[in-house]
Symmetry: C2
DNA sequence: GTCCGTCTTTGAAACGTTTTCACCGTAGAT
DNA sequence: ATCTACGGTGAAAACGTTTCAAAGACGGAC
């Protein structure tokens, strides 16, 4: 089953290979009858142009890569979706890859993408990657950091203003009347987590008459939330927080489940705020108040920024930041029995 | 910023290109001192081998593709994850792509994967694809159909036994005492949906003294579930089903939310069973009884089957089927106030 | 009838890699 | 000192495509 190449097509159609290539890339340059013969030959041979050959000649492919820690996380999935939509509008295809939170696999995938000479690389990560991306850029592959504000001005990035998000979440908890508030999340070394905490503690500081407890839970999943919930239940009631700000929705849902099943009323006894506003925040039996980033806009911003970099256009604003919104739902409405 | 090639490395290291190639692919054939000079040259130039060049010469790359309708769906995400794990054990990388339920984009991505001469293609789809994959196979790219039993013996596939899953779900509802049961899902043209319904109605038929109503809801998301729930609430109470089997968990969670907020007690008034057992089934405030496929095993089975096809090994069992399990939780335990 | 311009077609070169094969130098055996 | 074996090296060909320069075909204007 030898692969069929452009040469076979040319022979069968009785034309030169150059003509077949023209048919594929500049259809206007080839006459109607030859076009038809070529079309027939392609169909009957099942010819599929080799990307390798084309790429070798052209020096680049029309693919971009998106490397995320975990595409199954609705947060990244949503971004991937909007990126794909925009990329398809601009005529490039997106290859997704999961780094699985492993730096080793992150590096491996970066290298694979480089080997494939993708036009550009989009990357979301839980750890700083500016230096690695700088090396990649030096070798010729531009990139956009997604979901995390880059700390160098050479590295374009698109992110949410997590400081503002944290501030909004915390202000809301204070507004509804919570005073002994717990921030749940981790590890604090992750920029997104640190920023949210920073915004939150800023809000508490300004408000004054409230306390902020930090519960470090690096496992930001439903399961991690269940653990935190159990730990809170084990405390005497007066030691429990009356407001909880979880660093993402999964965590918040887990916490909420344990508390409610343990007899703590949400939102009467404790108000809970999540982050990301994923599909399940709204679908929960006690719908979850959350912070929503408008990720649809992400796709356009990210892809367009990447193309600016690819085409070496002047980038006036390398760090695009989106402002998140607070979405109030039942998990905080009615705190204290109001 | 001209790309640096193997030739530049050879010049800087003062050796022939063939030697550099040997260093990369057959390190044992090159002497220690030249190896060191080459290593230095590669590092200082930032050389990344071009996949295009290599692939052109070799005729194939070490990449496989997984094309799914929607990687953000936990069901496919889990599969993708286990596939990636196994693939990485076998030394190939996986590129993911989202078809977004659009056949047009499905075809486009298939073609892109073919152009890239992936070693093989994994595909999940909501529609029959055997004929398209047959064409692809004829052109030289083997594939494995994932999550759907192929209807030809030439097309390898790995799937769950959805008929059995449907039967288990329904038997359980009958066991706990439900008699007026609704099956929610659609479109019925989708094999997975049809199979689950077929298993379910088989169980009802055998049992005898129960009715099965089919509620066609093609939007198998939380939102779709909310709609169905609202429709059920609008009925007079005696017209409502006392058992609901939703074709996936998202749908079930949406239905449950509307019903509970509308004053219907779950599981006392109505028992609900989902399908897929995703993370949120367990995390719901009323944890959801569901049907669980052991998708971890999927990865190994799928990738190994694909490699059998790639290496033209004799495939004795083209259709691997996994048996799903019933996971009983609060949404059915205690039906009727028991 | 000749010339010119336009439109189409052609063949060859080039892209970056791997592999094959021939060659060279060295070491060990005679 | 000569021969043999062998490991390491280098030059060149091949992979499939696109592009480019040049040649060819054709029709219209003089």
């Amino acid at each position: 089953m030898a692969r069929v190449g452009i040469r076979d097509v040319a022979v069968l159609a009785g034309v030169a290979v150059g003509t077949v290539s023209n048919y594929l890339n500049h259809p206007d340059r080839v006459s109607a009858d030859k076009a038809q013969r070529i079309r027939y030959a392609i169909d009957s041979l099942g010819f599929i142009p080799s990307n390798a050959g084309r790429q070798l000649r052209l020096g680049t492919s029309s693919v971009i890569g998106y490397l995320a820690p975990d595409v199954s996380n609705p947060y990244f999935a949503e971004i991937a979706e909007s990126v794909e939509r925009r990329a398809s509008e601009r005529g490039v295809t997106v290859f997704l890859a999961n780094s699985h939170r492993s730096q080793e696999r992150e590096d491996a995938y970066i290298e694979v993408f480089e080997q494939h000479r993708v036009q550009g690389l989009l990357m979301s990560s839980h750890v700083p990657v500016e230096d690695r991306l700088a090396r990649v850029r030096k070798r010729g592959t531009p990139s956009v950091l997604v979901g995390q504000r880059a700390r160098t001005s050479e590295q374009p990035s698109v992110s949410l203003d997590d400081v503002s998000g944290g501030r909004q979440a915390m202000s809301h908890l204070l507004d509804v009347g919570a005073r002994r508030i717990a921030f749940v999340g981790g590890p604090l070394g992750i920029p997104q987590v640190a920023d949210r905490l920073s915004g939150a503690s800023d809000a508490v500081r300004r408000f004054g008459a409230a306390t902020l407890e930090v519960i470090d839970q690096p496992d930001r999943t439903v399961r991690g939330g269940l653990d935190v919930g159990a730990a809170l239940l084990a405390r005497p009631a007066e030691m429990r927080p009356d407001g909880i700000f979880a660093v993402n929705d999964l965590l918040a849902l887990g916490i909420m489940q344990t508390l409610v099943l343990g007899g703590v009323a949400v939102p009467r006894d404790v108000a809970i705020v999540g982050y990301d506003d994923n599909e399940f925040a709204e679908a929960s039996l006690i719908p979850l108040t959350s912070i929503r980033g408008r990720h649809e806009g992400f796709g356009v911003a990210v892809v367009d920024l990447l193309f600016d970099a690819i085409e070496r256009r002047e980038i006036t604003e390398p760090h695009r930041m989106f402002e998140p919104d607070l979405v109030v739902r039942a998990s905080t409405e009615g705190f204290g029995g109001a």
